[in-house]
Symmetry: C2
Subunit: 194 residues, 2 copies
DNA sequence: ACGATTTCTTAATCTAGATTAAGTATTTTC
DNA sequence: GAAAATACTTAATCTAGATTAAGAAATCGT
């Protein structure tokens, strides 16, 4: 198994020695998640965070009317977890599903804590990762409070140009917060305007 | 100036020695922000994060139609910052305003970095703080995607019972994402239902 | 390769919440 | 402590986006 992409990811923010890399490697698990299989499902207590080697995951909730809401897409080189459940060790409400066959590296909560003890630099790494994630969620909440559905769709296209053609349109609708029907209408309007 | 509340806040997650506390104290600034004054305004490059000793701040944006959207309230013992601007050192779009006379402890970005160098335990502290903040924003985004305005209002009342009576209703409206008129209607309906 | 399932589109109808407007409390300020 | 400013309420009207429904296109499973 080739963990190199993960170490490249670490190297963006911290410098690890060979010894540290070796130790960290011993803490990691590899997993292939087949298309439409789940990494975790709502109601479970989450045990791992995941780094995506290739493929794509999506994190979504299901509301009381049965509608899905996508909280995040995790393509290649992204991190994903049900942070609420992972931190609190209570039942989560996030589902994480593979949109295509997806290879991930898993870090269990227990190993993550061991890693923080042995390699305190990782506290810094994950602090930075989480800071960036926080900024992205704040921005997205602000967009949901202040932009129209059309503006949110155009912004999505700008931010995730690679995803636009790769993922089903109904997933984009569930991410920006509209029905698939309305997104279809928006897209027809965009196409007409050209 | 009494920094004790801040050290109580640190003590929730990490243990500091007297020497460390002394060093940290030398990195802090005290500030009184008068009611309606701003800690930062959109367009500025943010230089500090703030810990609230007493009073209450609110972080809000102003959209292209002039409407305000509240991203966070920071009452006593909370942290607040324009994380985007603080991290990127680019112009931010957050305004942080005092809702009443508010005393804060400020940590400049430069001092924060010095503190991470000298007291690496603080990486852990801020990682944990930011993790919790991330979970809260994810939850709130999910609420905005899946709940009605009425459900969001009732949830706000549950989560921030102390704020309900202390802050203007229009600020609550700007937080949950409705017009003040609609919130007024919701409240009238609630009152009638009792 | 082909039937079955899923996704996407279009269009009519509906509704939660916005907008506009006008009046009534409540604060703030000097 | 009165005038001005701000916050809240109520009600009529409007609209962005939801719902329902039905057909067309794409994808999947065997």
């Amino acid at each position: 198994m080739d963990f190199a992409p993960l170490f490249h990811n670490f190297a963006k923010h911290i410098a690890l020695t060979k010894t540290e890399e070796k130790f960290i490697t011993s803490m990691l698990e590899y997993k292939l998640i087949k298309s439409k299989d789940f990494l975790i499902q709502q109601g479970e207590i989450s045990k791992h965070s995941a780094y995506v080697l290739n493929g794509c995951l999506r994190g979504f909730t299901i509301d009381s009317n049965g509608f899905e809401h996508v909280l995040s897409f995790a393509p290649k080189d992204w991190w994903i977890a049900d942070m609420y459940s992972l931190l609190s060790q209570k039942a989560g409400n996030l589902n994480i599903e593979a949109m295509v066959d997806t290879e991930v590296i898993l870090i269990s909560k227990i190993n993550q804590e061991k890693m923080y003890e042995k390699v305190p630099k990782l506290e810094r790494f994950f602090r930075i990762i989480i800071e960036k994630s926080l900024v992205a969620y704040q921005q997205r909440l602000n967009d949901n409070l202040s932009l129209t559905a059309e503006e949110r769709y155009l912004k999505f296209c700008k931010i995730y140009p690679q995803l636009i053609n790769d993922i089903p349109q109904k997933q984009i609708a569930a991410y920006i917060g509209v029905t698939p029907e309305f997104l279809s209408k928006l897209r027809a309007k965009q196409a007409r305007a050209k």
